[in-house]
Amino acid sequence: MDLAELLKSLSEASGVSGYETMPADLIAERWLPMADEVRKDALGNVIAFKKGKGHGKLLLAAHIDEIGLMVKKIDDNGFIRFATVGGFDFRTLVAQEVTVHGREKLRGVIGAKPPHLQSPSEQKKAYEKDEFYIDVGLKKEKVEELVRVGDIITINREVQKLSGNRYAGKSFDDRACVVMLTACLERLTEVHHNLDVYLVATVQEEVGTRGAAVSAYSVNPDLAIAVDVCHGEFPGVRADRGFGLGKGPVISMGPDTHPKILEKLKEVADEAKIPYQLEASTSARGTDAWSIQIARNGVACALVSLPLRYMHTSVETLDLADIKEGGRLLAEFALKADREFVEGLPCF
């Protein structure tokens, strides 16, 4: 399976925060032949160990969960009202196809108040949260038999191959970066790398970077790089917030970034002729780096990002070249950062 196929299978898997088994099992299976050990912890994080020369322990984290919906109520006509798990722009939910994960998987569509029943002024506004419902095409009794309050709902979207290297789909945030870790692991099987590497597909990032915290505790790394998505350039997105697709991974500069790791990443990228972009980020509370950095007695961290357009929609768009270059960057870092570098991290 090449990286594009892996991206497709991970993206199309259902794995809302707290219910990540399907994509987690997929990635565990993919990593197993390449790693020295693959295990799952109590929260569902998948942790692969790739032994290096023992110069230090590097944790690489990318989250496997996705945002989704949850059944809140079945109304008198069998329509399902829902809550959200993670942050949605409700405007992106109109006329989406979904799967309700009840006793059976039910196909459904998200509806809202019909436009011809809205006043002209209502039609000029976005739908409000409480106007949405899910139609599964069944009578109330049947819906109640198959669906319970609390059941998970996922958005249906097959990956769309756009022109060139570009792809669109759901949950590229952050499974595209799990693919990037896989690209890194593939490279590590071909070289004698200095650092021992722990690759972690973390759970529950979208509800507060929770899986990363416990995986950092158990791995107890000397240093860590969180890998997540950043915003792609797009009309209406400020130039300092949007990054070019196909122009390489983005290295973050902010309070979650250890200055020495930042410099090392730039150094190895330049040496290996890996294109990269730099992001000045003042707050990184939205990524796994946020919780890994303060695990146990503190971990020297960095954040590498993948430019992604339309984040948290079902048509998130990326360039596969950025995944490949990002994988190469992470592998180069594990190859070249040595004991001296790791031991020097507290001195800055």
Binding site: R91, A95, H116, Y133, Q160, G236, V237, G246
Partner: protein, 341 residues
């Protein structure tokens, strides 16, 4: 039935050829004559020389869609709607563009980058782009050009007791009409698949002029709003309660005697039927009824939820009942003639 094939076929108003080619293939074995006119309307004729009134049955082949208007320097495409599309249904959907079926997506600025008040505003046609993955305008121009049209990229499927797909308005009517060509009637029947309904009932008028029918039924997909948050009087039509007859809409007041006959036949044969409860919208019946010296006409339709969106939902039983009722109607015309004056 060819509902899946016809739903997935692409035919934005004035670009109906893919749908037309499919229908021509389906009906050719069952009719005496097949031809199309210069607008693109497709005709199947059966029993031309039989005695009895000339019956016209019509369904439109076109669907609402998007037309590419400009290619921006950054490779993103600007577009405008063809037919009535609420822009609120477009965000976060894939589309297929042009004859080569170039894949594009309609995205939106990430929620993380929005101010809270932005989330209450509609993303309109001026705010949206289609992204085909092109790195700049030069690479985009190799794949698409202004004037190309796009359709929703929806696959047909079962959903509970219902079916989901795009363009049931009016591929439901087209599917019914294709099925009806397989039956034998004792009067001349013209099966007409029209073009450009969604941009103003453009094809149906010339088609009715050419045929010159004594009576016409227009087979449609129509609005159903039997959904959460709607009171019963706002339902318009109800999915699963049988085909719906529009007594009046913005385009036509259906001929009372045609409507009367449909209801009588439905009652006599135990076929479910309902009245459409709203008077919005229009159908080819508007253009056909005013053709030449006037044609007694009525629209009959399969109720469709989320009409003109990427995910229309309808009931196959409504479609089957519509076919049955139209069959009964044509037999009744052949047996008893017309009495519409």
């Amino acid at each position: 039935m060819f509902l899946k094939e016809l739903s997935e076929a692409r035919g934005v108003s004035s670009r109906e050829h893919e749908v037309r080619d499919l229908i021509r293939e389906y009906i050719t074995p069952h009719v005496d004559e097949v031809f199309n006119d210069s607008l693109g309307n497709l005709y199947g004729v059966k029993g031309k020389d039989k005695p009895g009134p000339k019956v016209m049955l019509a369904a439109h082949m076109d669907e609402v869609g998007l037309m590419i208007t400009t290619i921006e320097k950054n490779g993103l495409l600007r577009f405008q709607p063809v037919g009535g599309i609420d822009p609120r249904v477009l965000v976060s959907k894939p589309v297929y563009i042009g004859k080569d079926k170039v894949v594009g997506v309609i995205g939106a600025k990430a929620i993380h980058l929005q101010r809270p008040e932005e989330r209450t505003q509609v993303l309109g046609f001026d705010d949206l782009y289609i992204d085909i993955g092109a790195v700049d305008d030069d690479s985009a121009k190799k794949l698409v050009k202004p004037g190309d049209v796009a359709t929703f990229a929806t696959s047909f499927g079962e959903m509970g007791d219902l079916v989901v797909g795009k363009a049931f308005d009016d591929r439901a009517g087209c599917t019914a009409l294709v099925e009806l060509t397989k039956l034998e009637f004792n009067c001349p029947v013209y099966f007409v698949f029209t073009v450009q309904e969604e941009v103003g009932l453009r094809g149906a008028g010339p088609a009715a002029y050419r045929v010159g029918p004594d009576v016409c039924l227009v087979l449609e997909g129509t609005t159903a709003s039997d959904v959460a948050g709607t009171d019963e009087e706002g339902y318009s039509t109800t999915v699963g309660a049988g085909p719906a007859v529009s007594v009046m809409d913005r385009s036509v007041i259906a001929h009372p005697k045609v409507v009367g006959r449909l209801f009588r036949l439905a009652e006599e044969h135990g076929v479910p039927i309902q009245n459409k409860r709203t008077i919005t919208g229009g159908t080819d019946a508007g253009a056909i009824s005013l053709s030449r010296e006037g044609v007694p006409t009525a629209p009959i339709a399969v109720p469709c939820r989320y009409i003109h969106s990427p995910v229309t939902v309808m009931s196959k039983s409504d479609l089957e009942h519509m076919i049955k009722l139209v069959e009964l109607f044509v037999h009744d015309i052949a047996d008893k003639g017309v009495d519409f004056e």
